[in-house]
Symmetry: C2
Subunit: 328 residues, 2 copies
């Protein structure tokens, strides 16, 4: 089985590649080749099977067709401009997140015109396709009314994925990822950054800023769960999806207060003491419009499994990112 | 007020133009110029105010920018490849229905970069943005999961309309039209054609074929109501729309049996006798997946008014298309 990962240099992309290598197969079919693409050349992945690394921008003329030339059987498409950048740079967001994905779908469709070709395409969408007004718990049939250009681009790609799948051009699975926590690495400027920061920074012995109230509820999955969703999307029987190819993933609905309580249980009061409350009305307003919880019945019924508890999410971070050690 | 109508040569477009001319204004602002665009030059409209007629294909390079050059204050965008053609010709459907509309939105956005510009854009969407599985009555928060490429293209344009409006590039209103009945003219090959045919043909003394059961329920608006929706979309205060710019219009949920009963009340048993039942499993299967009824609470609360009864829909057809006379 030939596998292509687009967006392989990103945080989830790298972990996905590691998991694919560890498994060596998808549904008992050995991975015979692995092509890793991103705007920067994915590196330092420690890969010991035949693979190709490509630095490419999907939205550039010919880039998608070139990635499809080898007719990969399995495509993971994770590449995207993140929410903040897509909002700041309107044209770039549409070019990468919409036109790039559409170019990929078109390349697959056009490739099928010379000889039969219908690869599985696992696409990472986002809970950003939902926007206020929202119910406390969002059902699987709730409308997509995004409040960001990023969310709009993801919602459009979901529609394209379903239509291209319905027409038989591709075998698509759209995975609406919850907010990923604990996101490893440095703090970034994303408005959602604090959800990870208030766990990650204290565990590293550093102060973290909390800009919202403890009562704020949000929807989470660990990086490990996110990779699990993508692998299950690759392995699942898509007949059960019918014409609705996009799924809200099972996550954990947790308040900031519950996050902090979990941190205390896992790492003690010294960790919690490193969280500095610094209310920020702008961030609080943005976050107020975000989804708080999902039913995700459909995804659960199809075998997608989320994290068991926020304690577990913290423990996954300590195990996978901190070699099991907390700096306190 | 400068008004631009794109898709002015179509059935609803022509009636909209006639209504605009009859009113002469929108919200007490006199219509100072009227530009009518379509792929064929709109003709025979009997217009006696200053107007321009343009034959153009929105999806062609420069076409949208050229339509926007005069900076119309009010734009009605009705142009589209219909459902059957968009399904038969995948590339043409996406080119006209998606790329054409996106080119229009982009031209408006780019025009606003030199000096402030944010026209009202009334866009005709469709109940085809909804697809099975559907509830018996579709609420305003139900998801858009279209089962045709046409519905997909409309749903994508709805998302773009909301995002461009949220960003302040355009003041968009998306009007999800019910199935229009009674559609004037000759029978066409649209799978939905019989809903109009079983009324229109008997009123003209001709036989009509009914391919589905009398129990089939569907969602209707008269051409006159459709024009009323577009005019109200042009005149309404869009502040009440918030970030959700698209509205399911109020229609009538009527079964085929109720349509026929209305026909008998309005035109007598001779008309009904002209309906020939000729079950068609393919059409019946298609129609089974279509929306049957909508709540349309949001649109009603904002002043959109649908038809009062199917009797009235038939009477509108007799008045507007048959000069008040039935050929029986």
């Amino acid at each position: 089985m030939k596998v292509l990962v687009i967006g392989a240099a990103g945080m989830v992309g790298r972990k996905l590649v590691a998991a694919l290598l560890a498994a060596g197969q998808i549904n008992d079919k050995a991975i015979s080749s692995l092509t890793l693409a991103d705007v920067v050349e994915p590196s330092g992945l420690g890969i010991d099977i035949a693979h190709t690394v490509i630095a490419t921008d999907l939205s550039e003329e010919g880039a998608a067709a070139s990635l499809i030339a080898e007719r990969p059987d399995m495509i993971f498409h994770l590449a995207a401009i993140v929410s903040g950048e897509a909002e700041a740079d309107f044209e770039k967001g549409y070019r990468i997140n919409l036109d790039g994905t559409r170019a990929l779908l078109e390349s697959i469709r056009l490739a099928s015109q010379s000889e039969p070709y219908c690869p599985r395409l696992v696409f990472t969408s986002s809970i950003a396709v939902f926007g206020e007004p929202l119910p406390a718990v969002i059902g699987d049939e709730f409308q997509q009314t995004p409040l960001t250009s990023y969310g709009t681009q993801k919602a459009i790609c979901e529609l394209l994925l379903s239509d291209y799948s319905r027409r038989g051009f591709v075998d698509g699975v759209g995975i609406r990822l919850p907010t990923i926590a604990v996101r490893p690495g440095k703090p970034n400027k994303a408005a959602s950054g604090f959800f990870s920061g208030i766990i990650r920074e204290p565990l590293a012995g550093l102060e973290a800023v909390l800009p919202v109230a403890d009562t704020v509820r949000h929807w989470f999955a660990s990086p490990r769960a996110a990779v699990g969703f993508l692998l299950h999307g690759a392995a699942m029987d898509t007949a059960q999806l019918g014409s609705q190819r996009n799924l809200s993933m099972p996550g954990l609905a947790v308040t900031v207060g519950e996050q902090i309580a979990a941190l205390e249980r896992v790492a003690g009061p010294k960790a919690v003491a490193l969280i500095r409350r610094e209310p920020d009305a702008v961030i609080a307003d943005m976050v107020a419009g975000w989804p708080k919880a999902f039913e995700a019945k459909r995804a659960r019924s199809m075998g997608f499994v989320g994290d068991a508890s926020f304690d577990e999410i913290i423990e996954i971070h300590i195990a996978d990112e901190l070699s099991g050690k907390v700096a306190l």
